[in-house]
Structures are given as C-alpha cells and as structure tokens.
Symmetry: C2
Subunit: 199 residues, 2 copies
C-alpha cells in the first residue's frame, strides 16, 4: 500500500467524512480539509501525493486551488470531483494537467481506482525528481569558470579551442574539465551529457 497521502478537500462535511472513512478503510494515508484555504495553508510547495478536490466550494473553488497549485509548480496529482461541472470546465482542467475529473456521485470503486492510478504516477515522478535533484545539487557546486568550460565541453569543443576562447592555457582547461567531471561524478563528456539529458 502506498504511503503517500491523499488530501481530501470538500466543504460538505457529510461527503468529506464518508470519503475519508472509505479511503482510510482502504489503507490510504488521508488528510481532510474543509476548504481550499485551509488545504493550501497546510501543504508545502514540495508536498507530494494526491489531492481530491471538490470543484464547488465557498471561498476558493477547486479550480482556484488548482491554479494556485500550478503557480507553485506543485507535484500534487489532482483529481476533481464535481457535482455541477460541464464539459468545457472538465476539458480545460485536464488540458491544464489535472489527472482526472469525476462527477458526483461517483462509484466508490471508480474513485479508489483513480486514486491508485494517481498514486502510481506520483511515485514515478518522485523517482525522476530524485535524479534531477541530485544533478542540480552537483551543478550548484561548480565555480563560474568551471561552468564556462563545461558549456564548451558539452558543445563538443576541443580543449585548445576552449583555451583560445577563454584566453587561458590548455592545461587550465584540463584542470577545470577534470574538476567538472569529478564534481558531477562522471568520467567523460558523453557521461555528462547523458546525465544532464536525463533530468
């Protein structure tokens, strides 16, 4: 069973409680909120998991909350629940990256299936983001000069070309080049390019 949380946001307490109990009984980690405002105040920018969002809520609507999440590049996977939605709204939400858009009332099994699917996607994203994060951390250790040399190495230039361009000795290029490779944990320009392409 996946340990990533499912955030449930619905102003209707009866619905919220029923869905929360359903999810809890299926082993999910659940956090419930009565409004978009309280939900947004509680999460971090780097929170991961699935958000089940009611569209129609006083104050911030589900779509407003979704906009906020997109603004902060949130990694949360969003499933909309709507009792009064229409096709244009649903199509737009999905085109903007929502994972799904379900009509209320929907079958419990269908919702649970969607949540399972969404949690799998969240897991896949975590793995890919781990690689990205590591590469970024290593890149941050490079000095300005090392970065200049790295760009030219990745452009396929010879050390002597780089030396000409930067007005330094070939030996200095070699030193920077070796430093870049060491800090990035690679052994060749090819290795480095592939590391950076994979993020």
């Amino acid at each position: 069973m996946n340990t990533k949380p499912v955030y449930l946001i619905d102003d209707d307490a009866a619905v919220r409680d029923a869905l929360a109990l359903l999810m809890l009984s299926h082993g999910y980690t659940v956090r419930a909120f009565e409004s978009g405002e309280t939900f947004l105040a509680a999460i971090q920018a780097d929170s991961e998991g699935v958000a089940v969002l009611d569209v129609r809520m006083p104050g911030l609507s589900g779509l407003d909350v979704f906009d906020r999440l997109r603004e902060q590049d949130s990694e949360l996977i969003v499933i909309f629940l709507s009792g009064h939605g229409d096709i244009p709204m649903a199509v737009q939400a999905v085109k903007q990256g929502a994972f799904d858009f379900l009509e209320k009332p929907c079958s419990e099994q269908a919702l649970l299936n969607k949540i399972d699917d969404a949690l799998e996607v969240a897991l896949g994203r975590q793995a890919s983001r781990g690689n990205q994060h590591e590469a970024e951390k290593r890149l941050a250790t490079l000095s300005p000069r090392e970065r200049e040399v790295m760009e030219r190495v990745l452009a396929g230039k010879l050390n002597k070309q780089i030396a000409d361009e930067l007005n330094i000795a070939i030996r200095t290029v070699e030193v920077h080049r070796a430093n870049v490779f060491a800090k990035m944990g690679v052994r060749s320009a090819l290795d480095l390019a592939q590391l950076l392409a994979a993020r």
Copy 2:
C-alpha cells in the same frame, strides 16, 4: 494562412456544409467527409493536419475513428464536436490525446480559434518530426555490426573493451565506429548521443 488541411467529418450534411463554408471563407484548406469510414479510407498514415470529428455518427463513431487514428500513430490533431457528450467521455478523449472537445452548437469564432491553435501545434510537430525522421533514416543505413558497436560507443566503452566483447580487433572497432559517425553525420560519440536524444 496555414496550408495544412482541416478534415471535417460529420454525417449531418447541413452541419457539415455550414462548417465547411465557414472554414473555406476563412482560408483554410478543407476536406469534408460524411462518415468515419470514408475519411479513414481517404487519408494516409502520414497525413498531417486537423481533424474536426463529430462524435455521434452511424457506423464508426467519432470515438471509434479516434481509436483508429491512435492505432496507426496518426499525426492528425483531433478536435471533437459533440451534441450529446458527457464529462467522462470528454475527459477520456482528452486524456487519450484529443486536442479539444467542444459541445454543439458552439460559436463559430471559438471553433475557428481552436482550429488555429491546433494547426499551430501541427506545424510544431512537423518540424520536430523532420529531425526525427532524418535520424531514423540514417540509423536505417547502419549494418547490424555497426549498430552493435554504436550501442557500446553510446554506453561509453573504450574501443578495446568493445573489441573484447565482440571478439574482434581494435582496428575493426575503429572502422565500424568511423562508419557509424560518417553515416550519422556526426563527429563524436557526444555529437551522436545529442542527435539521438533530440529526436
């Protein structure tokens, strides 16, 4: 004005004619079909452009036609028109890659805007596919042995390692390596990796 065709598929002649005239009057290249069957029989697997698809048609429905297009990896951009669609249908179509899902009747201006947007997407895809196609063509010129060597070059192995693995002389690895670079139009393993990553 974009020269890529807009394919209009609707069994209702009145609607089809009205929309066709609208599009023609805005300078689009239009081809109209009364059924999914006639449309599918008329296009090629590599046809490009925008398909405006009515959902509800006798014989093959718009969704059936969309399935066929996806099966043949068609490059056509699909906009659905639906008089009786619902949210789950719309959400599924968009999640499966349809460009949009509009309800009939829809404003002429909205439809024209969507078609413009879709044609832009089609253009962007053509450029990116041109690169991809060229790389694939070059890849197809490689002999089996050259391909074996290329994989190991891209894995960052030394020529002498490759020679050991394939039980051949280092000089032979060099020959294959040179042949691969020449056929692929690159000058280094880095160049090659970047060419293949860009497709």
